[in-house]
């Protein structure tokens, strides 16, 4: 793709001080990458290594006599929940479940859905029709029913949660990927490549994939938020990560059942979720901007 950003931004934003503005925005983009990248890294390290390194109590098996301690209590900086479990510890352990679910579901969605969508669009015609109709069946199914059935048959667990959420994610990514591919295929360079006789796999991998990845990434980063939040909603239906094992989603769900009385227990995991989602998105978007040279 042509690096045409200076004229573009010139037309759209009035009177830029050309040189310094570009340098400033490029610096700011780098800074964004650094900051959001560090936050993501910090989150990942805290959630995955924290439990082994930090002096925090176990997230389960708390003493009920310690239930409902307020933040700042000795040994419990964020207090305890109704079962007397340390909230900070549950946040950290819960983050591990939530991040795992979010990342794995998105990777599965991107890998399977993205590929299916791109191939379907590329092949076109009857094959496209068949693939898309099959996906339509998946999409048409109210996800809830699928989840309930999965819950009944498989029982709640981390892998089953991932499975259930992937069932939403794959067809969604496939449709997005197909739409993006269709658009790319209308571009002149692709027609040129086709005319020049490049094999289909090369066209797909050389021309289509690099061009649809930015759009899919945007979607996946949004998907990260949605997946983590939906995991909490699954608790509503008895699937989701089964308590007492924490996840941000089930922590929010448990606490909102008495939100008027325990607002802080809703707040902590919500903040954790928000920080994660924001930093993942900022990172995703600024990397994309960097790559596309905007």
């Amino acid at each position: 793709m042509a690096v045409t950003s200076p004229p573009g931004s010139a037309t759209l934003s009035p009177a830029p001080l050309a040189g310094s503005a570009t340098r400033w925005s490029s610096f700011r983009r780098r800074l964004t990458i650094w900051i959001s990248g560090s936050v993501v890294a910090l989150l990942v390290i805290t959630c995955y290594l924290g439990p082994f390194v930090l002096p925090i109590p176990s997230p389960v098996g708390g003493n009920v006599l310690d239930s409902g301690l307020s933040p700042g209590s000795p040994g419990h900086p964020l207090g305890t929940d109704v079962n007397g479990n340390d909230v900070l510890s549950r946040l950290i352990h819960g983050g591990r479940s939530s991040l795992t679910v979010g990342v794995v579901v998105n990777i599965i969605g991107l890998a399977i859905g993205g590929t299916v969508g791109a191939i379907s669009a590329y092949l076109g015609g009857r094959a496209d029709s068949i693939i898309m109709r099959a996906l339509d069946v998946l999409i048409a199914f109210p996800s809830l029913v699928l989840v309930i059935v999965l819950a009944q048959i498989l029982g709640p667990s981390l892998p089953n949660t991932i499975l259930a959420l992937s069932a939403f994610s794959i067809p969604a990514v496939a449709r997005i990927s197909r739409a993006a591919t269709l658009k790319v295929m209308s571009m002149p360079y692709l027609q040129a490549a086709e005319l020049s006789g490049s094999p289909w796999w090369r066209i797909l991998s050389r021309h289509v994939v690099p061009n649809i990845v930015p759009q899919l990434t945007t979607f996946a980063m949004l998907g990260m938020a949605i997946v983590v939040v939906t995991e909490g909603a699954l608790s509503f239906l008895g699937l989701g990560i089964p308590p007492p094992r924490p996840s941000w989603g089930n922590m929010i769900f448990e606490a909102q059942q008495s939100m008027s009385a325990t607002p802080l227990l809703v707040l902590w995991p919500s903040i954790a979720l928000l920080v994660t989602v924001l930093s993942f998105n900022l990172l995703g978007e600024s990397i994309r901007d960097e790559v596309t040279g905007r």
Binding site: A2, A140, L146, R175, I176, Q215, L222, L278
Partner: protein, 354 residues
């Protein structure tokens, strides 16, 4: 739900006719429909959609079969003897093979007889008559509202990427996206019903009791459904618009011709970005339905979502089957509409060639 998509569609359609990409002849909407490639496409898709709905209905049936628990046992009572369960099974027609039962259900459904609830004994069609309008109104309003909110936000944000408006919209939408809808609903109630006392916390007022009371009872549930969707759309659309603005050659052409930034956004970038948005909107019908289940519970709205959830909890096959089928049909038709709108927007798809 699906009906509502015609609003943006109609808009775009007229735009396309006025400013079609190079090579496309401007033609009137009527003329185009009469010329009928679109109509032909609709016909073609319908040919697929109808069998698709059969497949969906069969799948629903299979799923209900796969659910653990024996409806006859449940109806007969836990400790009913085997003969008693057998009698109930015969009475419910469960002793017949699955395909036979499916066909008779299908036969009934096609003639408007959807069976009756094993719990309340009331006809499913009666239940639908009570519940469907509530959900339709709620989902429809949420659908329209989400687009009405997201379009201006995305356009305003994309006009100056990285600008103040852009940042504000992006941060706000991300924050709201990170709030689960059940928490969002409770927060809205705590603020607007408990705190300010402006709106009811729960309940549904039928349209027959006045437009304003009806709207008042709808505002919070609709907002709870629409806000996360609007954020999702706004972010996606903004990303896509910026992409278009930066990458597409025709935008540069337009710019060099001195076209204003809003015009470029609206006429050029948006029309191309609307493909992605359309796809997303079609996809979200399922999420919208899932959302109604939770939101109806929180706001005590007598809708389809509640009906379905109650049905699942009590193994009420006839009810669940009908609800799922209606939801599925809505999603299928919404996606059909998306396909048709692709065609309207993009001549290449319309003529089935590339």
């Amino acid at each position: 739900m699906s009906g509502a998509t015609t609003t943006p569609a109609a808009e775009k359609r007229t735009r396309v006719t006025e400013n079609g990409p190079a090579g496309e002849q401007p033609e009137g909407l009527r003329a185009r429909l009469a010329g009928s490639p679109v109509l032909r496409l609709v016909g073609r898709r319908l040919m697929i959609v109808i069998p698709l709905l059969f497949v969906v209905s069969a799948l629903v049936f299979l799923l209900m079969e796969a659910l653990p628990g024996d409806p006859a046992q449940i109806r007969a009572g836990m400790d009913a003897s085997e003969e008693e369960v057998e009698a109930v099974r015969q009475q419910m027609g469960l002793d017949r093979p699955g395909h036979e039962r499916y066909l008779s259900w299908l036969g009934g459904a096609l003639t408007g007889d959807l069976g009756s609830s094993v719990v309340s004994g009331r006809a499913v069609t009666t239940l639908l008559g009570e519940r469907l309008p509530v959900t339709l109104q709620m989902a429809g309003m949420a659908f329209v509202l989400s687009i009405v909110i997201s379009l201006p936000l995305a356009l305003a944000a994309a006009r100056r990427p990285g600008g103040l408006v852009d940042r504000f919209v992006m941060v706000c939408s991300m924050t709201l996206l990170a709030v689960p809808n059940f928490v969002m609903a409770l927060l809205l109630v705590l603020v607007f019903a408990v705190g300010l006392g402006m709106l009811p916390a729960i309940g549904f007022v039928p349209l027959a009791e006045g437009v304003w009371p009806n709207m008042r009872s709808m505002i919070l549930p609709v907002l709870s459904l629409a806000v996360p969707m609007a954020c999702f759309y706004a972010r996606f659309l903004r990303g896509d618009l910026v992409e278009q603005l930066n990458a597409a050659a025709y935008i540069d052409t337009a710019r060099s011709k001195g076209t204003g930034p809003w015009r470029i956004l609206w006429l050029h970038a948006f029309r191309n970005s609307s493909f992605g948005l359309l796809t997303l909107v079609g996809l979200n019908i399922g999420a919208l339905v899932g959302g109604t289940v939770i939101i109806e519970r929180i706001f005590a709205m007598p809708g389809m979502g509640t009906l379905m959830l109650e049905g699942v909890m009590s193994s009420d096959v006839a009810v669940v089957q009908t609800c799922v089928f209606i939801f599925a049909a809505a999603a299928v038709f919404a996606n059909l509409l998306v396909d048709v709108m692709y065609a309207v927007l993009d001549p290449r798809v319309r003529y089935g060639s590339h």
